[in-house]
């Protein structure tokens, strides 16, 4: 990883496992891609956010006793406990907790929905459409004048 440390990578990996879309149709495991995308993205954040982000992850990891997650570290909780804990963060009255989960979710899901297989599963093929659009534009320019 370029920007995540070993420890923060572990926390992100556990978060990504919870956040990743999962259904019968979307049964892909893209957790590594989401992680790689998030790591790359982190490098583009402005300096204050780049510094704050790992601190936020540590708060998630060790905040169980304060935020109703029990005494286990987040990355060591069982799956159900992790899901409840993350849901609690997402619905928190404390804005900074909600924003952190929303921020991680945004980045990770952008990574998920950049994967061609995931896009194919939901029926989105922009590259093929762009080729059609180019051909259509040619026709429009002939029809209406350039």
């Amino acid at each position: 990883m370029k920007n995540l440390s070993g420890r923060t990578e572990g926390i992100m990996r556990a978060l990504v496992a919870i956040l990743q879309p999962r259904s019968e149709k979307l049964d892909l495991d893209l957790s590594q891609e989401m992680l790689d995308f998030s790591d790359e993205f982190l490098g583009h954040l402005p300096a204050p956010l780049r510094l704050a982000f790992p601190l936020g992850l540590y708060l998630v990891e060790f905040g169980g006793p304060i935020f109703g997650g029990g005494f286990a570290r987040f990355s060591k909780m069982d799956r159900q406990a992790q899901e409840r804990y993350v849901a609690g963060w997402g619905a928190s009255r404390l804005g900074i907790r909600r924003e952190l989960i929303k921020g991680v979710k945004s980045i990770a899901l952008a990574g998920y929905f950049s994967n061609p297989e995931a896009l194919s599963r939901i029926g989105y093929d922009p590259d093929a459409w762009v080729e059609e659009a180019r051909a259509l534009r040619k026709k429009l320019m002939e029809k209406y004048g350039a």
Binding site: K2, L19, R22, S23, Y124, V130, L136
Partner: protein, 508 residues
């Protein structure tokens, strides 16, 4: 092109890059590019400085992982602090936000021009004064209605919903030449149809000898005894491994400096440069907006067809504007509520979605603070009145969706994510939604270096000249004295053209 220099082609230099021109323009978006072209066509030597990179049609593709970091400031993570936090996407590349916007073109409404004249004393500010400016801009960037073949099903449903509700719909005019609805506007137009400043004003300026320095952040305006004398900056870009590298410094000596970095970066640059006017950074408006995703039984494929074909101006008098905007799945998922199974079940229906949105004209102002080190911190809170208007706009959007046949509408509210019929619309009000529960975004920011004739109440004069400083101008949306309630690009270009014309007149 020979007269474009960027990080890569200055790396081999051992020392700072220096240049000299009649005018240096900082920023290449709607304002910067328009004023630069005006000055270059008027015979002045012009240098443009742009913080972002230089990318063209052949660089644009559908991959968010590649395009977002290239084309957006801070890889699209910019936000406005406050209650609630407002997500703000700003282009940072040659062409600025005109490369990534939806290309909607609206003239500044007459009543807004009147407000500018009455409330801020802006001179020559009547619709008649601005008409030739709008005509010039519209010619330069090819403003035209969409060809009917480019209209997608989502636009048809939006129009149907509005019609069934008795709401008027106004077709968009966009800066485009036979746009065929590739609908990847937000990643740069891959077909060459969108007429951003990248393919209009900037080539005009370059063809007349202007020089462009990209990948270069302007750090400070050089001031000598209250007179702007140029700008200093530094080249910065990411290498092949993605690491941010600093290159040599840049120093442009110029008789005139025009700041056009947008309503967050322009006040920050002025403050870093020692300007002390108390209004710099104040008067921050941002057209807070929200969206509601309608799910339909039929396959809509909102990604096939123009990004936005029309707007509903039925409620413009209340400061509410409605439209649809097809966006790629990554952008839907990034801001839709939920994750895991909930997100998967929503995104499986991507091809059945119509993403409708609204913007709310501001009723009060926020502020862009400038922190030690010159880093801007924008701050804006929704008032309780604004919260009511967001709820009203959401209710209207839901009604439009249901009138078009939507089965359910997904909302950007914590605690009320979905409603399933018109009868459930009252839940918007019954659920006790507060500002902190709302997901609000914006793509329009303005006002932080406002125009006016009174130096005690404004930052620049009627022509964009900074009060109390010689030869220093601002030419972007930060000069707007008020919010304008519509997409601002054409207004920015008109005001910037006006500034350019004034500079040429003063020069003689």
């Amino acid at each position: 092109m020979e007269n474009i220099r960027n990080y890569k082609n200055v790396l081999s230099l051992s020392g700072p890059v220096e240049d000299r021109a009649d005018a240096v323009v900082i920023g290449t978006g709607a304002g910067g590019a328009a004023v630069a072209a005006e000055l270059a066509e008027g015979g002045m030597s012009v240098v443009l400085v742009e913080e972002g990179g230089y990318f063209t049609e052949r660089d644009f593709n559908s991959n968010p992982a590649e395009m977002i970091p290239k084309l957006y400031r801070d890889a699209g993570t910019t936000f406005i602090t406050g209650k609630p936090t407002i997500i703000f996407s700003e282009g940072r590349c040659v062409g600025g936000s005109t490369v990534v916007n939806g290309a909607m073109c609206w003239r500044t409404p007459d009543d807004i021009l009147q407000r500018w004249a009455w409330e801020a004393g802006v001179e020559k500010c009547s619709p008649e004064d601005f008409q030739p400016l709008f005509e010039k801009v519209e010619g330069r960037i090819h403003v035209a209605p969409q060809d009917p073949e480019s209209i997608g099903r989502d636009a048809e449903l939006f129009e149907l919903g509005c019609k069934n509700m008795g709401f008027s719909v106004t077709p968009d005019r966009r800066n485009q030449i036979h746009c065929s609805g590739a609908n990847l506007c937000i990643f740069g137009c891959p077909t060459g149809a969108k007429q951003s400043t990248l393919v209009t004003y900037i080539p005009r300026a370059l063809d007349r000898g202007a020089r462009l320095y990209a990948d270069c952040k302007a750090e400070k305006i050089l001031m000598k005894n209250g007179r702007a004398a140029g700008v200093s900056g530094r080249f910065k870009a990411r290498d092949e491994s993605g690491k941010l590298r600093k290159g040599p410094k840049l120093r442009i000596h110029a008789d005139r400096v025009i700041v056009a970095c947008g309503a967050i970066q322009s006040p920050a640059l002025l403050k870093r440069s020692g300007l002390k006017n108390r209004w710099i950074g104040r008067n921050f408006y941002c057209h807070p907006g929200g969206k509601a995703i309608g799910l339909y039984d039929e396959e809509v494929n909102s990604w096939k067809g123009v990004h936005q074909a029309a707007q509903c101006h039925e409620f413009i008098g209340e400061g509410l504007l409605f439209a649809i905007a097809g966006v790629p799945p990554a952008f839907v998922a990034m801001s839709a509520p939920g994750w895991g199974l909930e997100m998967a079940e929503l995104m499986e229906k991507y091809n059945h979605m119509v993403v409708a949105g609204f913007l709310v004209e501001d009723t009060h102002a926020g502020r862009v603070h400038v922190l030690p080190g010159g880093y801007p911190l924008p701050r804006y809170n929704l008032t309780s009145f604004d919260v009511e208007r967001v709820l009203r706009a959401s209710a209207i959007t839901c009604a439009i969706h249901f009138a078009a046949g939507a089965r359910e509408v997904h909302l950007p509210f914590e605690g009320l994510p979905v409603i399933r019929s018109v009868d459930e619309i009252p839940k918007l009000y019954e659920s006790g939604i507060k500002a902190r529960d709302m997901e609000i975004f914006t793509v329009h920011i303005m006002g932080t270096c406002r125009m006016g004739r009174d130096p005690k109440r404004s930052v620049v004069d009627s022509w964009g000249k900074v009060h109390g400083a010689e030869n220093l101008y601002v030419a972007d949306a930060s000069v707007f004295p008020t919010p304008i309630g519509k997409n601002p690009m054409e207004s920015i270009m008109a005001v910037a053209t006006r500034t350019g014309q004034r500079i040429l007149e003063e020069r003689g």
